[in-house]
Symmetry: C2
Subunit: 420 residues, 2 copies
């Protein structure tokens, strides 16, 4: 039986060793880990094969077996990601908000690790390496809880990670894995606020909701995006169609893919037939609100259906798209306030005043003007690496990179200053 | 019966009105509220008198009755604080991390309100005005849960606040008060993660612990400071004594007051008698660890006692002080890691190398070099106002000002950009 509290105590006790390790040492662990993973290919593939055999016997669906898979090329990808994280700038130690007060006290904030991260994830074993690398790079400790179907793969990977830490005089307990399939442990894990500073769920929306509802530790929730694009009267229609197409079809299964298009009534009759032409060629089914349906002649087509009210509160994650005509920007913003999950929403417009209005009045983690919602991604926005996309409001919103795994302390330096 | 969910829905529905109100309007509400409070003095004092009469009849202790008290001069103080908050710069709308990516996308973060704050506090009714002002200034909505002993005062104050909002075309529901003494409501309040973004407890450590353990919403915990000063061998002894005296006696009942002094063995025999002389004159009882006790001749004095081991894990909040002799900076840091609550800890030294080492290795919300721990305070550190002192690690650490009641959104502007 796993003793979670004991793991928590160990985690706290090794925090400062990794927090104080110089960046050269943290990076060396990551590069060394990349080499070690390649050298351990046979053991890792064998462990993964065991998981997949067990999964097949248990009737795991094909797409889940694929998520579970580690092969030579995926392992090389994991190693390349490690070297990329090693190449990123050190987020620790940065000074900011520096000032000298009128009494002469010198004050600044210094960036430091958050502390202990609790990560709960599902079948992809690459998350084990990915999150361990981000934790080590940012001086954090991690307690990992992976899916039971990947248990052998995860244990094989964690062993290599812990060896790499030990080789560089860092405590292996910087990365600990909860090796027990008991689901009750997750509930207990989520209450370990004395030992864990932040819970990061990596998985579907039900995992996020479960963590949020049952955790006494702050949780980075995210992963649900009901995303909108509003086409303003002044938009460039050809540009708008290309952006909508990209946002919908470039990767329909992810959270930043487009779910609903709102069309200004002044251009709806012109753009709608073009949109239907382009999107149906790509296999998209359009769910038209009454306001749009009535504008279209082609009601017999199977790819154009009358929307049900619920269609505007669904994250499609597939080649479906809601379309509604609105009287103008105010109605568009009102619709977004009512139906958006605050992930990624945008306006397509040629009018600067409306762009400004949209930016001020729409409060989504990523608020767009004239761009595809698919850019809500740490890599695309220049963070170098992505921990999660947060749709909660505290600490970090939107794509989280290395810096979002840090916090700060105040440093206050005086000359034997006393408070009057 | 109060319907908390209904209050939550109302709170969410008015969020954007206060978030989008221009700073002139938010400040006007605060200034107007200051005037209105003064004009409503008679009603407020009458309501407060009712609370105090009830409290007296219920046998409330004198210091609690004092906390409850609103008189003319305290009301004037509250009004002056409102005008001060109105005079501070607007934290909203600030752009940061602005950049243009190689593909031409223009990206920045914009500071926006957190959303809905849940504030739980005890007997001081001034918190009702204080936190409402901070919420309005920062564009947030607040749900307030004050102590039952101050209920009439709180309701009188909230009425004035809501009138001031209405006068400036803002929804009164920006500030809502939970008017029901049922303690079970607090447990329910702490689970309202669909409606509340952040819980701020204002009160003693048991309130903080209760919120932390029972909340599914992030909680700003704080309020417990076991604070240390380490006197290095190279410290200026006269300066060190003055800083220790200030940190201990300037206001012993608060969280940033000093609890433990660690003395380098090389100067312990010299500084200890001086420290005893100075501090006992001020009424301080010194709890000496063996290592210090053995250095002192004056063992009969009642103000100098042999420490028990538990004395180094207590927040004194009174004129008591633990003293221990250490071999050097490493033992001092080790002691702090073991016993500090991560609030405020410092080194007194003339050695730059040791100052640097202390800053890097001690990770307290406020880490000091050559200054009194009493500076851990929003007002002292130039924040203009203080929401709380956080000893949790996420979002904000140490003194929290207006900016710490905000978050950000990403704004991404392109020219019909699509993701490749």
């Amino acid at each position: 039986m796993i003793d979670l509290n004991e793991m928590g105590i160990k985690a706290r006790s090794v925090m400062r060793f990794v927090a104080q390790a110089p960046i050269e040492r943290r990076n060396a662990v990551l590069c060394d880990l990349a080499d070690r993973l390649i050298r351990s290919t046979e053991q890792i593939l064998a462990a993964n094969e065991l998981d997949r055999t067990t999964g097949k016997a248990a009737g795991l669906a094909e797409h889940l077996l694929d998520r579970l898979l580690i092969n030579r090329s995926r392992l090389e990808g994991i190693a390349a990601d490690l070297r990329n994280v090693a190449s990123l700038p050190d987020p620790l130690g940065e000074r900011f908000d520096e000032k000298t007060l009128s009494n002469g006290l010198h004050v600044y904030k210094m960036r430091v690790p958050i502390g202990v991260l609790g990560v709960i994830y599902e079948s992809r074993p690459n998350v084990t390496v990915d999150i361990s690398a981000l934790a080590i790079k940012t001086g954090n400790v991690a307690l990992l809880r992976g899916g039971s179907e990947a248990i052998h793969s995860n244990l094989a990977l964690v062993e290599v990670i812990r060896q790499a830490l030990a080789d560089h005089d860092l405590p292996p307990d910087v990365i600990q894995f909860i090796d027990d399939p008991d689901r009750g442990l997750v509930a207990q894990f989520l209450k370990m606020h004395d030992y864990v500073d932040l819970i990061i769920p990596r998985g579907g929306s039900s995992l996020h909701a479960y963590c949020r509802e049952n955790s006494s530790i702050p949780v980075i929730t995210g992963g649900i995006g009901i995303c909108h694009l509003y086409v303003d009267r002044s938009a460039d229609l050809e540009g708008a169609i290309q952006v909508i197409r990209n946002a919908k079809i470039q990767r329909p299964s992810v959270c930043n893919a487009l779910d609903t298009v709102l069309l200004h009534k002044g251009i709806a009759a012109r753009i709608l037939p073009l949109l239907v032409d382009v999107l149906t060629k790509d296999g998209v089914t359009l769910h038209l609100h009454d306001s749009a349906y009535s504008l279209l002649d082609r009601k017999g087509e199977s790819a154009v259906v009358l929307a049900t009210p619920g269609d505007f509160d669904v994250e499609w994650l597939s080649l479906n798209l809601g379309v509604k005509v609105v009287a103008g920007i105010d109605e568009a913003i009102e619709h977004i306030h009512r139906h958006s999950t605050g992930h990624s929403d945008g306006i397509l417009t040629g009018d600067e005043e409306n762009a400004r209005k949209f930016i001020y009045e729409v409060d989504s983690a990523a608020t767009y003007v004239n761009a595809s919602t698919r850019f809500t991604d740490g890599g695309q926005l220049g963070l170098g690496s992505e921990v999660a996309i947060s749709t909660q409001r505290l600490h970090a919103r939107g794509p989280m990179g290395l810096r979002e795994l840090t916090t700060y302390k105040w440093v206050i330096q005086g000359d034997y200053h006393i408070r009057q």
